[in-house]
Subunit: 236 residues, 2 copies
Amino acid sequence: MTQQTQGARRAPLSRERVLDAAVALADEAGINTVSMRNLAQHLGVTPMALYKHVANKEQLLDGMVDVVIGEIEPPSPSGDWRPAVRNRILSARRALRRHPWASRVIESRTTPTPVVLGYMDSMIAMFRGGGFSVDLTHHVMHALGSHLFGFSQELFDTSISLDPDVHAAALSQRSDTYPHLVEIASGAAHDQSAAGPGCDDQFEFEFALDLLLDGFDRLRRQGWSPPGRPRTQEAV
Amino acid sequence: MTQQTQGARRAPLSRERVLDAAVALADEAGINTVSMRNLAQHLGVTPMALYKHVANKEQLLDGMVDVVIGEIEPPSPSGDWRPAVRNRILSARRALRRHPWASRVIESRTTPTPVVLGYMDSMIAMFRGGGFSVDLTHHVMHALGSHLFGFSQELFDTSISLDPDVHAAALSQRSDTYPHLVEIASGAAHDQSAAGPGCDDQFEFEFALDLLLDGFDRLRRQGWSPPGRPRTQEAV
DNA sequence: ACCTGAACACCGTTCAAGT
DNA sequence: ACCTGAACACCGTTCAAGT
């Protein structure tokens, strides 16, 4: 829509142009349309021209993630760790929501890029600066998980409790098959103050985030330290 | 390894045989080797024969997830919701860990199957039976997210703080680039009571799980109820 | 009625051949 | 030295043709 395909043909290809075009294409037509061949066509070049700027498709996807992570606002210089962390994560969420494909692509990455490492490093710095021990910061970063990047594991959450289809199907056909699920779905639905299909994603995200931050804060205040020597050896 | 490829040729194809073969193939050779064509070859049939038993590849993946979910132990008839939920989730984790490809495939599903809905319904039942309100149960299920299925968003966690490669690379080359990340990695590494590459996944999982369950329990005891009327209208 | 070979419209990537 | 066309080894899926 907002991105022009023609006219771009003249500018020399660069890694940045390739990545920006890939992000724009994914935004407009979905991540499935981002193939090396299709992206090349959109840029008016031959597929192999892309390989001058990205080693392979994996690196293309890494670069696309970097573009999105780059949109996250830098840490506010606030003195209090809790609102600072909270705001940064909510900024990450806004960036991720601008690019609906991004959370899925982030999930699929196996090794972090320097940009991602930098983001994590700065998040760690916020906890350390807020008085968290090295050990507690470590566990806290793990516990945040995908919240770090502004998304919770949505799985099919939106379809579970609130997608009109599933909702209707559940209520009509299978209230005897999944009685508890239907009860939850109904409960969410009759609260019509929530926006959209019956459930407020933003509320759910902040609910979980604040629950975690509350827990972190409690452990920090209690001076949490790792449990005794012998941890779980092997869990299988 | 444990699965025979030859000899299976005689038994008539069935949905169950197709799914079991797909799971075994993914376990042995990775999810990337599970293509309709390759799976068919392993079963000694033509690719199109599979389409008699699964509508398409998406349904094949759905069925594979169902096989894994089916391995989760049923709820223990315990009276106390907390250990019951905890044990069930740890059972889910054990099932998922037997099939390393499963968490990624679960993440990629867009609509839940009846088997998945049944699992969620029974989890909801445990909270409701434990005295959680409909609303609180709803949020609690969202907050659990991927923990419901026994995995946290691992992202590249194992590589972040503890993969020998990243660890060594970080420590040697980039302690000035990612100082806080390196501090966390070192902290985890010098605690050699942890198993494996320097970080105990099981410990991290249980740390986050117990943090969430603590939070849930606190809200339940406090008689949590939804905040006032006007929620976030639209967050973008 | 059941099964399947060939074909279609794609992939990511290599590599030798063009300019 | 730079770029690229054709080719390779794959995909998921359709569909008409075989038995």
